[in-house]
């Protein structure tokens, strides 16, 4: 049997006495699309930071295609093929949209080819008209698109999306869901999201985090009906 695309074993992150992530065993298959949900502080973003080399795990392992990347540098992990769109748009604010995408595309391509890839990506994220504007001057939703464009331009095998639909209008959410499904035709994704409507549009399988560990992992419909999940997470959300 082929090794899973991504696997974590006993993955833990402690900050002083706080155990933000504890003993997480997580497996993602090639081409899979998985959603992570859970209350704030459940450790989802910390989990993402360990997968991308932004934090070194206190203990435990991260395996990407069977290779241990637990203590690899962020840039090495990016080169192996894991891309991330962070929660707060993490882009080059002082540069134009085109320059942003070029910086991502030119990790793999040179010269004319890089320029062609950039123009294609600008089309895909719908920002051709805004290509020469500074990213810092764009609206929040558009900056999210720029970051997505950055990630896609480096052509990763696995894409992590931290709250891709946050702060978007309803139309933008629909458009994002459509894009996520389209990306999933060729790539694996892990999506952290609070918007259950959005999750139902995209996901089959959902992993629920609570207090740093995996609470339950199941099909999206079963998760929606799960009484414990409803109690600790969905119920609160409905009440809010």
């Amino acid at each position: 049997m082929m090794a899973p695309l991504l696997q974590t074993r006993d993955l833990s992150m402690h900050f002083g006495g706080v155990r933000a992530v504890r003993d997480v065993d997580f497996t993602l298959d090639e081409g899979e699309l998985r959603c992570l949900i859970g209350p704030n502080g459940a450790g989802k973003s910390t989990f993402f930071k360990m997968l991308t080399g932004q934090l070194e795990p206190t203990h435990g392992q991260v395996l990407f295609r069977g290779r241990d990347i637990s203590s690899a540098h962020a840039h090495e992990i990016a080169r192996l093929g894991i891309g991330i769109k962070t929660q707060v748009p993490n882009v080059f604010d002082g540069l134009s949209v085109r320059e942003n995408i070029w910086l991502a595309a030119s990790r793999l391509h040179r010269g004319e080819k890089a320029r062609a890839v950039v123009e294609e990506m600008l089309q895909r994220i719908g920002l051709t008209a805004a290509a020469d504007r500074l990213v810092g001057q764009l609206a929040h939703g558009q900056r999210q698109w720029v970051e997505l464009g950055l990630v896609l331009s480096t052509d990763p095998e696995l894409i992590l999306l931290d709250e891709p639909a946050a702060g978007m209008t309803h139309e933008e959410v629909l458009k994002t869901a459509e894009l996520v499904r389209e990306i999933n035709r060729s790539k694996a994704l892990i999506v952290v999201e609070h918007d259950m409507q959005f999750i139902r549009m995209i996901a089959k399988k959902v992993t629920v985090f609570n207090q740093g560990s995996v609470l339950v992992e199941d099909e999206v419909e079963n998760i929606m009906r799960n009484p414990i999940v409803r109690d600790i997470y969905l119920g609160k959300q409905a009440a809010a």
Partner: protein, 356 residues
Amino acid sequence: MNERLLNTLGLVLVAVVGIAFMILTPRVAELDAVLELTVYMVMAILALSLALIWGYGGILCFGQSAFFGLGAYTYAIAMFNIGESTIPLLLAIILPAAFAALLGYFMFYGRISDVYLGVITLTVTLILFNAVNSTAGPEFHIGTARLGGFNGIPGIPPLNWPGNKTAAIDLEGMFYLATGSLLVTYFGLRLLLASRFGRIIVGIRENERRAELLGYDPRAYKLATFTIGGALAGFAGCLFANWGNFVSPTIFGLSQSAQIIIWVLVGGRGTLIGPVVGCIGIQWLSTALGANQPSGGADWWAKIFANAPLILGLILIAFVLLVPKGLVPTLGDWGQSLFRFRGRQTAKRLEPEAAE
């Protein structure tokens, strides 16, 4: 498209003005003015070295004078030992570059934060100052070159044409060499910054974490930038040692280090022409103020205006508070808003119903 056109026009303008300045100055100016302008050109190369690493690389180096001084001392020491200037010149570039690479390796790969980077680089240049300052005795020599401690090294032999010891470069030749080198440095850096490498270092300055998550190793890019900056500063140091045929430990001192930062700050970070303008302007001002030294008496105002460090300090404070972006970028902004204002008017006339 418009931006590219403006860019090209700017380059052509710099080339024309620079070459005209280089050719005409020795023909119209007195020798002492040419001599003065030569040192401005040398210092402008030094300013460009910091413009690259701070303005574009985002690395605030308080000790650029360390590489400048190392270049000057290396040239002097090698020249006394070798006698022909080709190898001393190369050493004056290679040694500071290697020193920058070593220092940079520990700083960038040790993940030292920006503030400490400034502290470390400043400390390094002050250590060099103290070390060289205390080498006055005859026991301190490298080969035939005596280090001279606080007295410095006088009578440094000038550069000669490569391979020909007897063809030393005269004062006028020094001016051509310094100005030519400044132009080559300027256009070389423009090329570098337009290249893939240059655009990536600007990306790293803008958002280091993002660059990392895209697969670039910021440490390697910063180290390369810092090393190039060290090489350029060393080259400027070599020219400086030639200009006065003299070098002393003050070259590593606090006021020299501070000056370089002031040039870049006043002229404008994130441009190349700004630091050159800032460097030349401030040096000219310092010289002009120093020349008015009152010969005695109790004329307070004359004394205050002759106090160059005081006036420079005031200028620095004024710039930090009022023109934080520096001279050239601020002028650029004004030009652009004027341009945009006129552009918008035209657009309105063409499309009277266009919604904002």
